[in-house]
Amino acid sequence: MMSVAGVSISWAVLAPIVALSAGGLLIMLVDLVSRSASKTVLYSIGIVSCVASFLALVPLYGHTETTLAGAFASDRFSWAFDVLLLLTLAITLVLSSLRKAEDGGSPGSYAALLVFCTIGGMVMAGANNLIIIFLGIEQLSLSLYVLAGTGFPREASQEAALKYVLLGSLASGFLIFGSALLYGSAGGVGLAALHSAAVSGGTLFIAGFALFLVGLAFKLALAPFHTWVPDVYEGSPLAVTGYMAVAVKVAAFAVLARIAYEVFGQDSFALVPLWSVAILSMLVGNLGAIRQRNLKRLLGYSSIAQAGYMVVALAGVQQSGLNTLLFYLFAYALTSLGAFGVMALLGDGTDAYADLDAYKGLHFRRPWPAAAMALFFFSLAGIPATAGFYGKLLLLQQGFLAGPWGIALAVTLVAGTLVSFYVYGKVVWDMYSYVEGEAAAPSGNAFAPWVAVAAGAVGTIVFGILPQTFTALHL
């Protein structure tokens, strides 16, 4: 603990981010200095910095501390989210090892961007005032805009990057304008100041929060601010899409949870629009997924619906909500990364298996990947004995205890789940229906994606059958 010009700085709290930043810079330096540094070396540095950052996180477990004059915190809203972000980064780096020269971009800048993106997410998770939140969101977003375009030899990737950056700027505009209004209403940027403003709840605060929420909803892909999702998910390189689907949600939910508990602390009518967009998201996400023939688009719509589900955890801002949210986030992260892992495994890192037609009769060609994919789809749909099921159970519990809006959310969740059974069930059905002849798509068998698949499968099953293992972590 040191103090500079009256501001105390706790290095322990900042250490995880510093470690990761150092890793990112090192990647750039190695890429600069060594002409022949292979992508394996660069990605390994990334993974090592993940581990280092995680080790720096370990002592912060169960620890609550704010630093930098209350601007940045390490507490229950940041720790588990940080761990999840690091996990996502590590798995994404592993999946990225399938990238080839013709995918475009240098591996150095790609890996560094992933690391910087994660730093943005961790800053969001720990941010305790509006400026730091904005800083984190922008760091995350700017890196992601570029990452979406790292498959630039494909036009779809360029299109994705451009669409993402333009719509993202629009959303950032809302976010910063909302922050300004919030500042105006609260007389400060700290969340503590916002708390007193929320209690009095003037028009200026409400308007500011509305715009802020719009900006955040864009990052969370909540309908109707989800329009970018299908195109960007489809166009981005496979590993980036997987990362995007998980990391952005984790970081944005960290912010949302912190605001729900720190700024509001109880159910508030100011949160009603959040519940409404969540309901809309569940409907849009599940209904929109029905007619998709591209798995990346389908998972994009699925992520819209899942974001809607996760909001249910915050319904009524109940004490148990944070644990529910974390459980569902972990379940979702493992399941999603696993599904993208299977896609990468089969397509050998390419989008060859993004087309759903490639999955017809998959079981008879590749039984294990098919089984893994079925498991992940079951978990996304919420079939018992998977993590997704228990997560939804917890969500329903939260919803039904949270008054009329909570009940509306829970009912929509059930309805959306029913529709999603059809969506996922159809793919599983296709995978296990025999089709004559070999499918045209080649199917790879690299080792790296198995790591993601295995991690996802083990997590999905363990948290599905023994959810207590998660609760026992007391995150």
């Binding site: 500079v4 010009a5 890429d31 600069l32």
Partner: protein, 119 residues
């Protein structure tokens, strides 16, 4: 009525609008207008214009402009630091050193990757 800070801002806003508008409008009311061909051409630092403004700029232009802006804006943070350097002491010095190193890595990276070459 006690003026709130917002009223002050509103007054400021109105005054600024009026002054700026007056500066734009008043000269036009009093000048004589005798246009010639040369006067109506686009102004390019006194050099005769070479073409109409319809063409597209190469992407390199944006790239360099963007890099310039990025590094230019970074320097803005030097001013407050320089003003408070004595109070910030050694920590402030090392902090800025780290900042410059990080910036330098980015700079070197852009340079090495050919961001500044006009290919």
């Amino acid at each position: 009525m006690q003026p709130t800070p917002w009223t002050v801002i509103a007054i400021y806003f109105v005054v600024a609008l009026v002054v700026a508008g007056a500066i734009c409008v008043i000269p036009g009311l009093f000048t004589r207008k005798r246009p010639t061909k040369e006067k109506l051409e686009a102004y390019e630092c006194g050099v005769p214009p070479t073409s109409q403004f319809t063409g597209r700029f190469p992407i390199r232009f944006y790239l360099v402009a963007m890099l310039f802006v990025v590094f230019d804006v970074e320097t803005a943070s030097f001013y407050p630091w320089a003003v408070r350097l004595r109070q910030l002491g050694l920590f402030g010095f090392t902090e800025m050193l780290t900042f410059i190193i990080v910036l330098g890595v980015g700079y070197a990276y852009v340079w090495k990757k050919g961001g500044f070459s006009w290919r």
